[in-house]
């Protein structure tokens, strides 16, 4: 049970960074943005979204401030910080490399071993 959550957590962080890199968003907005750009293919646990936001903010990769939402309500907006931007780049590279390696491994046929 424990391992898939870890994996999901790692990817969720990256997805959040991606979402707010396109412009400041409130928590619910982050959820919508991810669903939108993933074309609804990803199901995100709403309960785990906020701990991830808080963790990223605590680590200094995103910053928050209170603003007004489209429906004229007080909402907390998150934006990417400079440190978060760098982090997002390295994470993306790491992810791509990892995905290549994994994909390569998975493509391997018995003859190639």
């Amino acid at each position: 049970m424990a391992k898939p959550i870890d994996l999901l957590q790692g990817t969720l962080d990256m997805l959040i960074l991606k979402a707010v890199s396109l412009g400041p968003l409130h928590g619910y907005g982050v959820l919508l943005r991810i669903q939108q750009i993933s074309k609804e293919r990803l199901e995100i646990q709403q309960g785990s979204l906020y701990p991830a936001l808080y963790r990223l903010e605590h680590q200094g990769w995103i910053a928050s401030e209170w603003g007004e939402s489209d429906n004229k309500r007080k909402a907390k907006y998150y934006r990417l910080t400079a440190a978060g931007k760098r982090r997002f780049q390295t994470e993306t590279e790491k992810w791509n490399r990892m995905a290549d390696v994994i994909a390569g491994i998975l493509r391997t046929t018995p003859e190639e071993v």
Partner: protein, 894 residues
Amino acid sequence: MTTWSRLHSWQQTILRRSRIESEMDTELRFHMESRAEDLARNGVPRQEALRRARLEFGGIETAKEECREARGAGFIETLLQDIRFASRILRKNPGFTALAVLTLAVGIGASAAVFSLVNAILLKPLPYPDSGRIVLPELISPPGVNLGSEYMPWGQLQFRALTRDAHPFQAVSAFQNDSFNLTGAGEPASLDGFRASQEFFPSLGIAPALGRAFTAEEDQPGHEYEVILSDRLWRERFAADRNILGRSVELNGSAYTVVGVMPAGFAFPRAEEMPSNFNFPAEPQLWVPLAIPAEPKPGPSELAVIGRLKPGVAVQQAQAAMDLITKHAEEQDHRWTGWFNMRVVPLQRQVVGDTRRPLQLMLGAVCMVLLIACSNVANLLLTRSLARRREFTLRAALGAGRARLIRQLLTESLLISLAGGAMGILIANAGIYFVKTLGPSNIPRLREVTLDLPVLAFALGISLATGILFGFVPALAAARENLVDSLKDGSQKSGGSRISPRLRNALLVSQVALALVLVVSAGLLTRTFFQLLGADGGFNAERVLTFQLPLPSLKYAEQNRIVTLFGNVLERLRAIPGVQSAGIGETVPLGGEGESTVIRMPDHPATSQKELPFANFTVISPGYFPAIGTPLLRGRDFQETDTSNSMQVAIVNATMEKKYWPNQGAIGKQVGPGSTRYPLLTIVGVVPDVKHTSLREETAPEMYVLYNQNPWPSMLDMRVALRTKADPAGMTESVREAVHAIDPDLPLARVATLTTLVNDSMSQPRFSVFLLGAFGVLALLLASIGMYGVISYSVLQRTQEIGIRMALGAQRRSVFGMVLGQGAWLAGLGIAIGLVVALGVTRLMAGFLYGVRPTDPLTFAGVSLLLLGIALLACYLPARRATRVDPMVALKYE
């Protein structure tokens, strides 16, 4: 993660926890409502939309908890959680908690109270600016000359030598006490004051609150009629009149101009802060210029000196400079060799003086009380942690790490110790109040003792330290429990790990040992106290009234006038109904040190300047010895028939007779003041040694001479003693009337019964005995509680074993004996160790003892038996409980 963001996050957690909580609520509510609105827009009914939004979100409290965790506030959160848990545990066991907190409160409170004394007296700088630079230059008596102490009052000549070459000093001043009769402003009063040279106030760095200090011109003979008042005198006698400057007041018959008023609280020098041989008044009320003549007279003088070192000059440098002055003076005139020896002492050290050692004694004693309290609470915790073994095992099995368990237990013990500390501060406050009201008046700086910040910090510090000290061992022991063993064991009643009984026994033994040391010390002091009470002071204090009769020096400039006055006063006093006898003397017993002088005896010619014989030289009137109740050992008393024209006579004390005429007796021998200008006197009587400063003093040789044969003009400050038939305190008014009938301007000062003087002289030993005795009783109480706790727990643990023994036919008596025996063995071990330690410790106390040896076998044996008795008493209840064990119940117990 940056340090900043981490710190920021922590700070927010601590300071703005509630704001963050509400922000989190707002954010999550916003999420939920936005989601519900989106759903509603797709046609879901409003109520249903809200419900579904909540369902989709999942556990909201879990999310919040995870958010809090994600903030990195783990430490604080855990701490708060630990504290919540610990206080719940402590509340669940009110008896245990109360006992532990109370025990610590007593230990911490007593320590904080003693520390407040140490802080105010030893640690705090004196209340003068840059007080570290204030020093007391002292004059040391030449080797071989015994003045009763190694200090010698400064002469004008020596002081002049010091000021002439006073390179190390920024300011240096001589001063001398004097009493001043204030007349013309209500009832005549005798005021204690000082004559001080110009730089007196600059030396201390304190300027008058009103007006100015003395000028150099005012410090010259003929110009010295200015006075500076103390704040107290200004308020009490002059109604705090701010226009007092320039006003004239009458002191000793001369008009003095008021030039200044000192700030409140300033009263330098106080008697208890100065070397006792100066015999200074308790608290000076006024200061006038000293006005040493340009050509100082070489004769004896009674000056003290104070100086302020230049910035950056160390005490050693000042000492070197003064050694140089000594050398110059001796080179100039060889007769001065040995009479210019100077030593410089920081004022702080002088003020602390003899108080350091009693304070160290108290501090040592209170540390022992604190240690006993700590080990007692450690034992309580240990006992309880055994009972909580199941809980620990369970928590360990559920994944709590060893560090986590230790941390939880330490939180508990710190909570106990902090509660104990808070209560201890209340106890300390009461203790400080008690010491200030009932403590001896001769403790320096006692009025500065308060529950101030350093004391509070100290209390907090020892609370934390004790919390860790007594909490750590049980916590370690608990965490060391072997999980598998305790699970297999299953029983909560048996055993505990091997280490615990040993540890608890060791703690108990150390408690008994510490208590023994403390009680033996208290016992030795108590014996000292009673030895002192029984000590022969050479007088009989019952029904004796004493007072001081200071004479205005202008009115009584002539010796004849004084002699006539005294004759008249004595006649009047003896005529008062109820007065048995009356006498006048320079001192009264325990009324302070008298004069001492070089003496000459034709049958003991002095071999060298350095071995001049000294003796106290006390002027008295006939009737003095009967009044203070001193019997005559041999010869006769002074009589009214001894006049200025008859044979010059003297009476000596037993020490003097033993020292100079050990075989043939003193009667008929000749003795006189050192200078051949004065005639020799014939000794006609010998009296027992009369003690002057305390009942434990080593009496010096003393000679008494008659007031009407006295060659010296030293009778302006005499004391009167009256032996009465009834209560002497009730006679004060008729005595005052009798004196005023002869001279209405004469003030009566320091009116006190002789019993009061004896009590005052006993106040310090009484106080030491009381404090140490209180600590001793506390130690006994704590040790017996500890003994009770350990033995009753051991009985509880051995219930099954005892049941089996009894089922197998063991007699109740033997079970009783077995439990008692265990207690006796532990107590015996503690006593044995304590005796060895006590033998070492009491040797350090030798200076506090009188009439009893530090290894007094009676005290040692008595205290050992007392402790053994108390230990057995503490075991009695658990032992009785053991005999009531029902074998059937005990065997079914598991």
